[in-house]
Symmetry: C2
């Protein structure tokens, strides 16, 4: 059914994904889902074995209905690439011939540059078990292949499309370190806050006779401060640590927070004499 | 069944892939296959819903039996990460908390550096629909997430493992342009061969009166040579082109190669008078 849907405008999200003689509707559906995950939408099918439309494809697409609905069907691979200006063929194994073989990242960068220059581009994927024939590869400009484990090289169709779609999304990121969300910024607290933590801990420990013998106190303080400085604690973290110190300092197992005994205890400041000592 | 297979040595290929409460055996099998594609082999399962071993997992693994056979089962996520020194949690959505969120390539580089330094490392993947709980994420050092299309962000379990496994393989490549095979090198031919092509074509065309009017010949030759120079033809390609020119030059539709007429014709050199003209 060449020409089906030919009235639809070319979707502009990226390269056309062209499946040559795909066999199972499920695989076409998983391809559509993988495309949608990474923002691709233009799916072309060259005479799918089990016909089209396919309810199995729609079910496996997990709501990537816009890709399924927009799919165009062609009789031949030649027709499916006719309007494109640059085409990659994917293949898992070496072929005779003189076409350049590219890594996925390089291929995605090439596609991105040509796409930005207004050239319609596409990527050919072969049938499930046997891939593309040499005649089909001859329709492409270059070859793209994946750096798979040579001992276990078979990627399935949806996985191959997923990796190329992922590389396409990656090629459009301003930074490869970019993530869609991030933990709240946790810049280190000011030294005033850090030194407040030092004072708090050191006072609480000193009150307990921690720094003994006295001549070792400078070295023990130095080590303690080094340990508290290295992580670059944020203000929030310092507040958490000070809460922990306060809890350890002001309450005991026998007089936990909220108990009557604790109530009596916390009315005193640290180092203050207990009421019965007054 | 914590401790099952605990007598097996740690496989040294890369990070442990840890599936937390996976539901379907098929998904575990597809994970094993994705791992094998990119050279990973150490699979850990935290109380898989449908038990272990799983024939469905083995079938879906498409011969990645070494991964299935080596899988270890744990009762809790805490036990599954106990021997590791650095752990990533994968998540598709923002979480409360202060853990660093990394892009997959950055996470893979970090894992690779730590792995090379001898640290056992791992990556946590959550249950199929709901991912990891906050308690499970708390067991990890950092978070990794994928730059997916926000409008269609759900990656399935095997796809998520595939992408991280791919990034792991990628992080170990000396060059990101590296490909496992390449077309034979096709360096440009020497200028001697290029000029031989010029002479051949120009002579054949001249004999046919192509360069007319004569005063335009220098410009026509210049254009022809520019067109033949730009592609940087290899010696093999020049030989192919010269074969094409020879065929067009020496045979005709009426006297094709192999015909008696052609036999008569080719005994003459170009520009030589035909026998009946002698």
């Amino acid at each position: 059914m060449a020409g089906t849907n030919s009235e639809k405008p070319l979707l502009a999200e990226g390269p056309a994904i062209i499946l040559v003689h795909p066999q199972l509707g499920e695989n076409i559906g998983m391809v559509a889902r993988a495309m949608a995950n990474f923002g691709l939408a233009e799916l072309r099918l060259v005479s799918p074995r089990d016909g089209w439309p396919s309810e199995k494809a729609r079910a496996a697409a997990s709501r990537a209905d816009h890709v399924i609905d927009g799919a165009k069907v062609y009789d031949t691979t030649r027709e499916a690439v006719a309007d494109l200006q640059f085409v990659y063929a994917t293949t898992a194994r070496d072929r005779d011939g003189f076409k350049e073989v590219r890594a996925p990242g390089v291929a995605a960068d090439t596609l991105r540059a040509r796409f930005r220059a207004g050239q319609p581009v596409g990527i050919l994927f072969g049938r499930e078990r046997t891939g593309l024939t040499n005649d089909e590869i001859a329709l492409a400009d270059e070859i793209v292949t994946f750096p798979v484990n040579p001992a276990f090289a078979s990627l399935n169709l949806a996985q191959a499309v997923l990796l190329m779609s992922y590389e396409w999304m990656r090629s459009g990121l301003e930074s490869l370190d970019a993530v869609p969300f991030q933990a709240p910024e946790q810049p280190p607290a000011t030294k005033t806050h850090l030194h407040g933590l030092f004072d708090h801990i050191e006072e609480a420990l000193d009150a307990r006779g921690y720094f003994r013998p006295p001549e070792k106190k400078p070295k023990l303080v130095e080590n303690l401060r080094a340990m508290l400085t290295r992580p670059g604690f944020s203000l929030t973290e310092i507040q958490v640590i000070r809460g922990v110190i306060s809890s350890l300092d002001r309450f005991t197992r026998d007089a936990p927070r909220g108990s009557l005994a604790a109530h009596e205890t916390v009315r005193r400041k640290p180092n203050e004499a207990a009421p019965h000592d007054e």
